[in-house]
Amino acid sequence: MILLHFRFILLQLFRIPAFLVPTVLFPTMLYLFFGGPNGGDLIDAQFPLGSFCVFAVMGVAFYQFGVGIADDRGSPWESFMRVLPVTLFQRFTARIMAAGVIAGLAILCLGIAGWSYGVTFSFGTWFGVGLALLAGTIPFCLFGVALGYLAPQKAAVPIANLIYLPLSFLGSVWSHPDSLPEGVAAFSPYLPSRMFAELVWAAIDGRFNLPQLGWLALYAVAAFGLCVWAYRRHESRAYT
């Protein structure tokens, strides 16, 4: 049942260029314009590539979960789906798997773009970066789910953009932390996006950044709480 839903979510997503192109290609485009040319030597250039991987994965979390769930909620088709013999867990697992595929594609595009600038990771580094991306994305996926249950269908995209883009800039995902404006630099280290980026930078450096992982876990707990509250609020309004 999970595979059935996974297949159909992907089938639908791949037929919506308006979703696929921005989610998969936008981070690569930004990297090609801003990340790649400002990379410096090979070692320095690896960090922007890692940062844009963070940007790509955050985007998938906000769009696939936030916008996707808000879209489903607003559609009468959801009533039909809720009467079918499939559990919410099965549908949600399928959604996570589909998000993984989209995120994988976005990272593949970034890898190719990095390679075009001569920036590559060893297999071991890719593995470490992959694990860091997987762990760091959890609070963002949960924030995405909360957004999906809170935002009205038509407002989900602008709200996702309003959170995702500033969070990326303020978290130093698009640029080196030293180049952030002074005021921003002061609070940037406390943002989840910055912590996520630092987790990936550490992985590129061959290190494991336990404090940042701990902070991200706290963000994840907060996001999970928000998520449960938003889900219950939605269920009580729409279905009880």
Binding site: M1, L4, F8, L11, Q12, R15, I16, S75, P76, W77, S79, F80, R82, V83, L84, P85, V86, T87, Y239, T240
Partner: protein, 302 residues
Amino acid sequence: MTQSRRTVLEAENLAKHFGKTAAVNDVSLSTKEGEILAILGPNGAGKTTLTELLTGLRQPDKGTVRVLGDPPSSMRARNRIGLTPQNVALPKTLKVKELLPYVAAHFDTPLPVDLAKSWFLLDGLMDRNAGDLSGGQMRRVALAAAFMGQPKLAFLDEPTTGLDIQAKRALWKSIRAAAHRNVQITLTTHDLDEVQELADRVIVINRGRILLEDSPDRVRRRLGHRRLSFRSAPVNGDAPFPGAVQEAGRWVVDVADGDQAVRDLVRSGVAFEDLELAPASLEDAILAELERSEQADKGTVS
């Protein structure tokens, strides 16, 4: 020999409030396999909320629902329920030939897609994206989707709204055929013709309460009012026909027996012109029935 039919749906004392408004108020009903039950009522009467309670989409404040002995939200019950929601919206990017097998794959004993195609007139639609279909075509696909699991009971919320009469008749045939295969069907509709054509039993609800429960013929007789309208001068300052009121320069009155009303009008000698006799709206007929039942209640009390 009469074969006893199983009870498939049982609801007892269902109540659902939204704030202070009672959307469903102390409704009990049960249905048997192969039976077609029509739920009639004006907009806002509580038909959709009642359907949502019966399908497990909403939880009642009070009362219970059982589908073949199970709560409607249980997996066992969901394996036996088919639904066409009132507002049909299919996943836009899926082709019909992908959508129906997708729905079918949820069930233990699905309906073969080719059968669904012929029963619900989907020839020529299978290769089209659901998002490119017209409202009527979408409704046919939604109806097919409701039957993909070979359900024991199907809830069809205004299943033929927006269809031309030819498509309506063909789909009525398919719905009747499903009932002959022992599927219990609950229809909610505004269409008295649909009720007459399909239903074995009718429930009329208003303000969340069951107002009337009877056979389609009897309900039609009680609710099938006619609207008589004509132009005429007032007679001695009064309406030229008992109960008639003026609307846009015409005298208008809802009557139970249109033929008799015309005979009475002619006999009264009123000089009328441009006479029209048309079916009264269901809403008007139900409101009239409601008024009558309220007056009867008052009469009983006093």
